[in-house]
Symmetry: C2
Subunit: 770 residues, 2 copies
């Protein structure tokens, strides 16, 4: 792609920030807090109307609905999706350790509020495997089987009162849904929809994969028809797996056969319909076909009784009687409810955004949170388990051309018919068939097991996040995995701001560009000017690292040099005083001697400050002996003094300091907090006492604001004249000034030096501590 290369020809005056601001008329922008609050609290008819339209999107789309064009499509897609929803809901109820009818409730009640409040047009709320298994853990923990079992002496066996257990578990599930709903509604009203962004993709994928594996393991017992004792707590999944392996010899062959046949049929049809999707107008509702066929075989032939297969059992017809949540149980559920609220919301939002991007509309994150919250809230009274978006049902609606919430109305209709009439026929359906349905749906999730391989190549830290989320979720528990994963991904962000971010830069030959001399060959080091580039926000966690880095890269620790200088001067003064006393008899030669001794001071001082610094360093040699490594920040800090300035001895005599100007390129510093501001102030002051000018270049607009309000310009000798628009501007200014500091600057420095001395003498170390 050969092209004409333009010339970069500029001839303008150099700019410091102050000159630039004056010349180009910088405006002050303010963001008054009062106005904002007033604006938020303003109340008017228009605002109320917009609030209403915002929280009830149905008011927006329903009047515009084009029934002639869309209704048919919506009905067809809704009905076909409904036939997927029914078996899937029942299957996921098994995961939640609840009776299958709970799946029907969960697929019906939550859809009502979502119809009015949802902003994603094709979305069908419903059961989601990961949430179901999290609910299942809570049900197991709060209503364990042991509570409902008693030893029957006539039968000489332990009998579990399943009906009562199911009732209690349904109540637990409803209570949990209610708490989750309250969290979601609260977050939604507080406009906290943005919490979703704290869940990084790597975390979500790791979490989902682990959850998928857990789901697979927990359906194995249905597929093989084995009874395993329920476990909860860390490593539960491992114990379950061991039990299943031990139980394999007792496999119920009939169950396994049903499962295998269903699985194979489902996979074949799915693959075929994926291949010929353009020829089929809407996806085949294969799930319901399998369920119907399996029921038709199992029931009339009386297979469950013959082969002791585990079946769905009686499904109570009719709507459930509403219950009130058991508020006292909320304390035990809080962490799970929080995880459910966040994870459910994130899945819902991701699906909503994907649909929105495909069809060109917007989803409102806060409104989605509210819609989901109210869906769960209503459902909570009708014994549902927590829902978010029903993935495969939504996809079915979308691919069949559904375009509005009328589709989910049709889904509701199908579920309602099952609930009110058809459910009773599903009694002989083997649970293993439902298990197979779940397992097949996990295909995509389990394919993600190869994620770490790709991630490692692309970004090692993201790979770590994936692994940590996966391991914590899989081995400990799902809520714990959420907490660990989110915490770890935020830590990784903080971590990224700490290492490999600073380097010395040098001028690229004949240009105004400055780059790392370790990366580019054709560079030119400037005499007497050091330039450091730092690329990271400057805040509490790295402010000290930044200071150390500057010291290391410039090879000069101003604090130590100052201390050395001070000690030397003190000694010299003492010596002079002593000599003075001894020479009181030689009064006439005094004046001449004084002059000489001060000359000596000057010279040996220049040598001494380097010598003394080395002296200091040898004190710390034991700790500085450790090999430096950039992975370890502490080593880096302590071991940073063994690379001391190899300044040639000739210039050392001529020029007190190896450089007269230090330029900090803050182009990559995107924000700075109070501790960063303090470090900058401290650096400016100490360097200035050594006669070294410190210039800041390339300061971002918001960093400049933070520096101003943080008081850098009041507490140090820097002004906006020492801030430059680019590194090259700063270099030009540095070179145009004489190496010896100007009189005005000197006066300023003296003032600070005085302040420093006073502070030093005062020496209230306790005040300095933090």
């Amino acid at each position: 792609m050969q092209q004409v290369r333009p010339r970069y020809a500029i001839d303008r005056p150099g700019f410091s920030q102050r000159e630039f601001d004056e010349e180009f008329e910088r405006k002050r922008r303010s963001f008054p807090l009062g106005d904002k609050v007033k604006k938020t609290l303003r109340c008017s008819g228009g605002r109320l109307r917009s609030l209403l339209f915002r929280h009830l999107p149905v008011l927006g789309w329903l009047p515009k609905y084009n029934a002639r064009q869309n209704l048919l499509c919506d009905v067809i897609s809704g009905v076909s999706a409904g036939t997927i929803q029914v078996p899937q809901g029942m299957a996921f109820a098994l995961l939640a350790n609840l009776p299958p009818v709970n799946g029907l409730y969960s697929s019906f009640f939550p859809l009502i509020p979502y119809f009015f409040m949802g902003t994603a047009h094709q979305m069908v709320p419903g059961t989601f495997a990961v949430l179901s298994i999290m609910v299942g853990m809570v049900c197991l923990r709060l209503a364990p089987e042991s509570q409902f079992s008693h030893f029957n002496h006539t039968l000489n066996a332990t009998i579990v009162d399943e009906e009562r257990m199911n009732q209690v578990r349904l109540a637990v599930s409803g209570t949990l849904a209610c708490l989750t709903a309250i969290i979601q509604i609260g977050l939604g009203f507080m406009q906290f929809g943005f919490v979703a962004i704290y869940l990084s993709e790597s975390f979500i994928r790791g979490f989902m994969t682990a959850a998928g594996l857990q789901i697979l393991i927990s359906v194995l017992k249905y597929i093989f028809g084995i009874t395993v004792p329920p476990y909860s707590g860390p490593l539960a999944v491992v114990y379950t797996l061991i039990d299943i392996c031990c139980g394999l010899p007792h496999t119920n062959i009939a169950s396994l056969l049903f499962a295998l046949v269903s699985t194979v049929a489902l996979i074949i049809v799915k693959e075929l319909s994926a291949r010929y999707r353009h020829k089929v107008p809407f996806p085949l509702p294969m799930e319901i076909i399998i369920v119907v066929v399996a029921t038709a075989i199992s029931g009339p032939l009386d297979l469950p009784q013959k082969y002791h297969m585990d079946i769905v059992g009686e499904i109570p017809l009719g709507f459930p009687a509403p219950i009130l949540p058991t508020v006292t149980e909320w304390g035990d559920m809080l962490s799970t409810a929080f995880s459910l609220a966040i994870v459910g919301y994130v899945i819902n939002l991701a699906m909503g955004r994907t649909l929105a991007a495909k069809h060109g509309y917007d989803v409102d994150p806060n409104q989605e949170m509210l819609a989901l919250g109210f869906s769960n809230f209503l459902g909570g009274f009708f014994k549902i388990h927590v829902i978010c978006c029903a993935l495969s049902v939504t996809l079915a609606v979308d691919s069949a051309g559904g375009s509005s919430q009328f589709s989910s109305l049709c889904v509701m209709l199908v579920v309602m018919i099952t609930m009110l009439a058809l459910g009773t026929y599903l009694k002989p359906l083997p649970k293993s068939v439902l298990g197979a349905l779940i397992a097949v749906n996990l295909k995509n999730t389990l394919l993600q097991l190869s994620d770490p391989y790709y991630l490692w190549k692309k970004n090692k830290l993201d790979c770590c996040v994936w692994l940590v989320s996966f391991l914590a979720t899989f081995f400990l528990s799902l809520p714990f995995g959420v907490a660990t994963g989110v915490g770890f991904s935020i830590l990784v962000v903080v971590f990224q701001t700490q290492f490999r971010n600073g380097s010395e830069v040098a001028q690229i030959m004949d240009t105004d560009l400055y780059k790392n001399p370790k990366v580019y060959n054709k560079v030119k080091l400037l005499e007497g000017v050091k330039i450091m580039s730092y690329c990271s926000p400057l805040y509490f966690a790295n402010a000290e690292i930044f200071r150390r880095k500057v010291i290391k890269k410039t090879g000069l620790d101003p604090g130590k040099v100052l201390l050395a200088r001070k000690k030397f001067l003190k000694k010299q003064q003492e010596k002079e005083a002593r000599e003075l006393k001894a020479m009181q008899d030689q009064q006439k030669k005094e004046a001449m001697r004084r002059k000489m001794s001060s000359l000596v001071t000057m010279k040996s001082q220049t040598i001494s400050q380097i010598d003394l610094q080395s002296d200091f360093d040898s004190n710390g040699a034991a700790s500085a002996d450790v090999p430096t490594s950039y992975v370890n920040p502490c080593c880096d800090i302590t071991g940073s003094f063994d690379q001391l300035p190899g300044a040639p001895p000739v210039t050392m005599e001529m020029q007190p300091m190896p450089f007269h100007t230090l330029i900090l390129d803050l182009g990559g510093v995107c924000f700075i907090d109070l501790m960063g501001t303090k470090v900058i102030t401290k650096m400016i002051n100490t360097y200035s006492m050594l006669g070294i000018r410190l210039y800041l270049a390339n300061v971002q607009a918001q960093v400049l604001e933070e520096l101003e309000s943080g008081g850098v310009f009041e507490e140090s000798c820097i002004t906006t004249s020492d801030l430059f628009l680019s590194v090259h501007d700063a270099v030009l200014f540095a070179q145009s000034k004489s190496p010896t500091p100007s009189a005005a600057g000197e006066a300023e420095r003296q003032k600070i030096k005085l302040a420093f001395d006073i502070q030093e003498e005062d020496g209230d170390l306790e005040q300095e501590l933090f």
Copy 2:
């Protein structure tokens, strides 16, 4: 400060990253993991020796110790500091709800390991009020008074077996010290000394202030001589305060008198010695004088018996018999131990660094962690409570000219003499005097209550961190305060990366500088080129915000325009097909008509894409109606489409897009993760399908690496030729190219468009979800 302004005159070719890398010979740097591991595991004599010297700094300084010059100073400072240590240790033992002798143990045993292992020369380890009160909470919780009280029927009162309670509490305290030590040693060996940096200054100050207030409240009962029931858990401090207020009528006047006199004496002497510090060679050990005087008054006059004053009581002489920690209690102590380990270490390190800066040596953070850990570990067997640095003792040593650990040896000596012989004379010392000593020491801490006022002016977010840390610590508990404060300060960092970071920029007249046109008046907007500057790391929490911001600022949503275009083309094709069918009878006119219809397509398409975008937007109007505010990111996201391009209708006809090049200035982006990379890739591809070129300018070196390894160059049509060294380079290149895309670029785009179409048709939304 008038000065000669240098000219910024540059005439060089424009550079894209590729040309720049070629011309100036970029080197590839690699950081092989294998070598690093090998280097770390290398074993040699020199390495062993350096390890030994590192972990036992005493080997470094002892042989070099100049006894003639320093010993006298060290002994004097040590002895005078020891006299401060004794009463303070005893006072802090009261805070820890332990018998006063525990303070002597805590001031003796931990000093032994620190002598050998510490890297801060003047440091004296010992009791610290904040740690003591945290230990006190645990003692109260694990060995409550109620366990040791029984109702005595002869006396008709509840009797507490104080001796046994003290023994149990000492065991609890030792166990806690042991656990804390193990955590510290573990962190030290894992080189985790850097955890200290996660504690921001604002958090520490807020935490310390809250702890100081809690300490003050808990010594009030000693000062007033009131008995209050012990509380623990959240709001304990409030209940205690209420009880103290209620108990004020029962104040023990004698206790109060002793406390007041001690306080006044201490304050006066402290103020005087601060004023005349240059005339006094070492600080007056006022604490011990007060203790001695108080004992001398209280004992012989038999005041405690007369006025029922609470006194120190019998101090068992001699060394304590070592005990083993009760490992089973560790589970209950874990969170407190962790807080103790971190807080103690941070205080210790801060003190060490302050001393090091004053005297010009280095402290090794990891070694300090180890030294502290081993100090607590040894002490744990001798019933100490957790220690860090003894603040006022260390300051006394330093101000009296102590220069080595020999001072702390002398401190040990003083404590030992008290422990073995003098302790018994302290029996009649009123506890209220010790309470007064603690209260006076809190002066500096309580002065920090004015912090929020200064912080608010300097940095509002830092102020929030302070307040959150303070409130959580004060009202809930100290360990909880640590967790909350650290978590919140990290959240604030993440928060800072999300808002107000992006803006459109425009060329400043006649320069190569680009700034926000809202800030500077004299700017020039470039025809056909949009420039966006973003100043924040680009990662999972803000990648989507970044994309939305670009859309909002450029006023063009490429995804929607593409969708609109596609729909329109589809409709057009259908129409054409229909027309074609209808016109089959008019075969001869067909060729001409075709040509015309395609012309119509072209024209109406250019109009339609803007129209259709508006059409889409009106769909989302209900949600977009909400007033935008930059405080609320979600509103920002959803409400970003009401500011649509007001492109003049004339140009709309002439030029399909309002701009032909979009330049992203990534100068302020200091790192980018996989999600950021993905968003960039996606943006490049969608813009490119619209015929808009996307250039990246000012990419930081490490961001470039992350983009490369993240696969931007493989998965999008961008090459290093589309990356530019500066915004001005990018603008020059953009202007030098013709607005219509080149043939080569078009081919590339066609390829991607094809890929996009296929993907679109495939439409496996589940895969796209995350």
